[in-house]
Symmetry: C2
Subunit: 207 residues, 2 copies
DNA sequence: GTCTATAAGTAGATAGAC
DNA sequence: GTCTATCTACTTATAGAC
């Protein structure tokens, strides 16, 4: 959320809010205009078309994700620290932007071509390093045997999934849990780190 | 996918395919008609409106999920077996219906009101039982201390998330992994069960 | 840059023939 | 039941005044 009060930023803030919560297909230019306190014509004056405006927001989001990876992989560390860093960084991102998981998953499903070569390259680089690190730890017997891609999927699932289920869980869960679901999300960092550590640490190292 | 070759079933099969992959907002009645090999007017003759047709498909999906829960919770078993049953049943469901996770998460986000009292009740009942079972095992020291809701989220994330990322992972992952991503999904049952078991089993029981 | 008014296209829904 | 043709409403996008 940019603070500069220019019209362009007002539009971007409004578009971010609407696109993230509703997705491309269900978003309405009128709603974005209302949210920005301007009219539809001005949206087109600044961004030409709905799709171009959406692309701008989508790029922002992907860049935010890539920036997280950059901060995590810029220095060397052992795998467990790397895992903890990933959990900490991304749960912080998600706590501030809870609609992000569903938004990204959706748009990647519906428009995988938006995943441009550039961004793809940025993410793939870190991913490759991460998968290699996992394989090395497995080979060295330092963590329980697991295919690196499986561990990646497990970690991402533990981090991301709860943030995609907020309306779901807050509806179906027992009344006693509903008021504390927000607290639950806050606790995810600690819980996920512990869960992963317990799952990958070999028994031999415990005894 | 119903086999009866009645027009109604042809429509339902087409609608299921289109709604599951595109979601309500992006789905087009024309596309459903084409897919069913009939024309738009006939869709309205059979189901009155797009929304009513969607509701029918959505209900089917929720009922499928509820049926899974029913099969799992109909008999008594220890928590670890229950967890294994949940993993087995739902990964089987997802292997046959890979668009289900994103479809459900989306529609629950966009139209939580569709989660009718009836379905809500069906699911909440089993959920309550499951959460209680977890708490009892924690209290008895049989599994590592964890808030039941966190363990639920962890299990669901491990099961569901990979199936929501199929286009994503198959694009960004290294070439060497792309051809085997299908195999990876097949392996999820075994991997997830092992991962959960390792994570929740107390050290004291290992030594 | 910002607005009002309107064009152009699309999608859901209906009328009516067969 | 099934079709073609059409209506109506909505949505994106543009023209043109200020």
């Amino acid at each position: 959320m940019v603070k500069d009060n220019t019209t362009e930023n007002q539009i971007l803030n409004a578009a971010r809010k609407v696109f993230l919560t509703k997705g491309l297909a269900a978003a309405r230019m009128q709603e974005i205009a209302d949210e920005a306190g301007i009219n539809k014509a001005l949206l087109h004056y600044y961004f030409r078309s709905k799709e171009k405006l959406f692309d701008r927001i989508f790029s922002e989001v992907i860049e935010k994700i890539a920036a997280g990876l950059q901060s995590i992989f810029k220095r060397e560390m052992v795998l467990l620290d790397r895992l903890h860093a990933i959990v900490d960084v991304y749960i912080d991102v998600l706590l501030e932007n809870r609609y992000l998981p569903l938004f990204v998953l959706n748009e990647l499903n519906h428009h995988p071509e938006r995943f441009s070569v550039l961004v793809k390259k940025h993410i793939a680089k870190h991913l490759r390093k991460f998968l290699t690190e996992i394989q090395q730890e497995v080979d060295a017997g330092k963590i329980n045997p697991i295919h690196p891609l499986h561990l990646l999927l497990n970690v991402l699932g533990l981090i991301i999934f709860p943030f995609a289920t907020i309306p779901f869980v807050s509806r179906i869960s027992d009344k006693q849990y509903r008021p504390i679901f927000d607290t639950i999300l806050q606790e995810r960092k600690q819980v996920v780190k512990q869960f992963i550590e317990d799952a990958i640490t070999p028994k031999s190292q415990i005894i």
